[in-house]
Amino acid sequence: MNLKAYLKKTILNFFIIITIIFVLIFILLKTFENEFYKEIANIEIAHAFNLVYKIRQIINSKEKEKNRLLNYLISNDVKYIYVIKKFKNKLRYIYDGSPLSQRAIYLQPFEPVNKKLWQKLFISKSPVFETNKKANGIWITFLYPILKQNKIDKIIVIDISLEAYNKFKNLLHLFNKLFLIISIIVFSIIILMNFFMFRLYKEQFESFIDPLTKTFNRKIFETIEKENLQNDIVAIFDIDNFKKINDTYGHNAGDIVLKQLVNIIKKNIRDYDYLIRYGGEEFVLLLKRLNKKYAVKKIEQIFEAVRKTSIDIGNQKINITISGGVHLEPHKEKNLLEAIKKADQELYLAKKNGKNKFYIYSESIDNKIFNLNDIIESIEKGNVTIYLQPILNIKTNKIEKFEALARIYHNNKIYLPCNFINEIKKTNVYRNFTYIILDLVFNCITHLQKEISINFFAEDFYDEKFINIIEEKAQKYNNVLNYLTIEILENEKIENIKELSEHLNKLREKNIKISIDDFGSDYSNLNYLIYIKPDYIKIDSSIVKFVKNEESQKIIKSIVLLAKEFKATTIAEFVEDKESLEILKTLKVDYIQGYYISKPLPLNEIKKIYLKNSITA
């Protein structure tokens, strides 16, 4: 989440809280006001009840000037006091203590305005009252019936002045003003506290920000480590060939590339997703609350956006690509860093297998890398097999060779060596794995009596003992080494080529043939032809794949010529259609291999198909 999003959220929350507080205060004040008026009205009614006693004394006395005596009871709060009597269904004044200007004369008709109140009085025969804030100078009208033989004889009317109401109203206004001032002070304190809290948060927030890219730095993990990762997706990205960009265009250009990459990614994610600079050119993306299917689309969208965008580095525009690893279920890991580690393994594979792509780690996806224990378990259980891919001689149109490809079974799924070989390399497990594979290959040779090639890393032959292992294994079988071809894989630059050459010559002495795999790709070096003296040169799939292009044809043609000069036979792999086969034929490639001829098959099926048909394609 960025600072802007935080601000938005905080301000919104703040205003919601303040609005709720003010609405509550308003309701509270109104309730208080109503209760307050009810209470003071009750006080005034109680006062009126007290007056009734005095009024009754006056009207029952023998005094002649009763109106004048009633007038003495008039005060600031009591505006009018009068006594009404019913004569032949008509109400008339009999006593009136009101001031002279408002005083009615004896038997003057009285017409009640608030008729409902009077009806209530005659029905209930008990005191009634009505409050009215807008009456003409009158706040409460209080009616008290004087009963005679259970019938209303007279009615005492006391009008409480609006002045009494206003007196309390002013008091209430004063209280309201005081309350308002306190509210404003409290409100100001809240705002001030929020401001200081925001500044504090901002300082803390900035310590999580990478100064160059303005993304989060690794410190943010301390915070998000505690977050629930359910429904979240974690991805790790790396700019392809970033070192080259720095070396070629300078570090300033490198910085621009990093900033621009961040801009591209930010345009494709939401405010509450986390983009973290994990290392130099490595970024971690934590996509919050995202459906898995949509997450993959989102990652694809980011990749596509990066590919399509040209980055202006000052003098020129360059295009970059990124590689990535994605973990769709990080919540299943011990913690976020563990999930990132798993995604990082996928990033490594994506880099290794040509870059500009992303691999997904998930238990539910078949290409899962299993851990060393799983591999050991599978190997110990003998869940290892080999598949054979036929290699066709173009001239004779016959299957003359096979390439052996290792497979491991685990939990009813088949795994390719590329999924696990790096995990077991340089361990005893790798050696055990090699024993099993050699056994399986020698068994196949015994059955087919055909040349079978098997892949090994060049570094395997740095150790002379490895050659002895092959020899030891072959002793169990009859004449198998004559049919064996070792394909040398180069996953890193060969450091001591002379020593390797000597060891390989020992293999050759035992009639084992040597092949250079993936010739023309990453680490291929022409002087390998001098030292390794291969019997076969396997043209790299990245060249054969584009055999329909003129440029690829030129390279293949050159490799074929070069191979002839070194008395080596050429094999083109990755042949997927007839057109490619025809082109390779014209280019005078000796052998071809690929799905157009056959996919890799287990020994049983190979025997069924090829031995019956005299091994013809």
Partner: protein
């Protein structure tokens, strides 16, 4: 008439809510006048401290014309019964005056923040004025 009757009741019943008492007084004068005078415009003469401020409201009504003396008026609202005037519809503004002058049509005055209306029964009978049943409480 029914409309007028309800209007009068409504006005009296709700007078306590009215912010301008003088406007309310003017409306009651209009209603009383329309009960007694059956032609338009109605010429009204007012000479009372109670109702002096109602004139500005009555002047706005097209059906009423304010006049300066009782002679020119169809109906008068006065504190004291005018001398040498006969056959006019006179409303007095105190019960005391009303009791003194039996020829008065009635009384209308404001007391204790409330209106008091009295219609003279004798006047109603001699002048053949029809008072709706609902108003009979005001007749005496």
């Amino acid at each position: 008439m029914r409309v007028l009757r309800y209007l009068l009741i409504f006005i009296i019943a709700t007078f306590i809510y009215a912010e301008d008492i003088n406007k309310l007084k003017a409306e009651i004068i209009e209603n009383i006048s329309m009960l007694y005078i059956k032609k338009y415009p109605i010429y009204i003469f007012i000479n009372s401290n109670y109702f002096n401020k109602t004139k500005k409201y009555l002047q706005k009504n097209y059906y009423f014309k304010m006049v300066n003396n009782c002679d020119k008026a169809n109906i008068c609202f006065v504190d004291n019964y005018p001398k040498n005037i006969k056959g006019k519809t006179i409303f007095l503004t105190s019960y005391f005056s009303y009791l003194k002058h039996k020829n008065a049509a009635g009384a209308f005055f404001w007391q204790k923040g409330r209106p008091t209306i009295i219609f003279n029964k004798h006047f109603i009978i001699t002048h053949h004025i029809k008072i709706p049943k609902e108003y009979e409480d005001f007749v005496e």
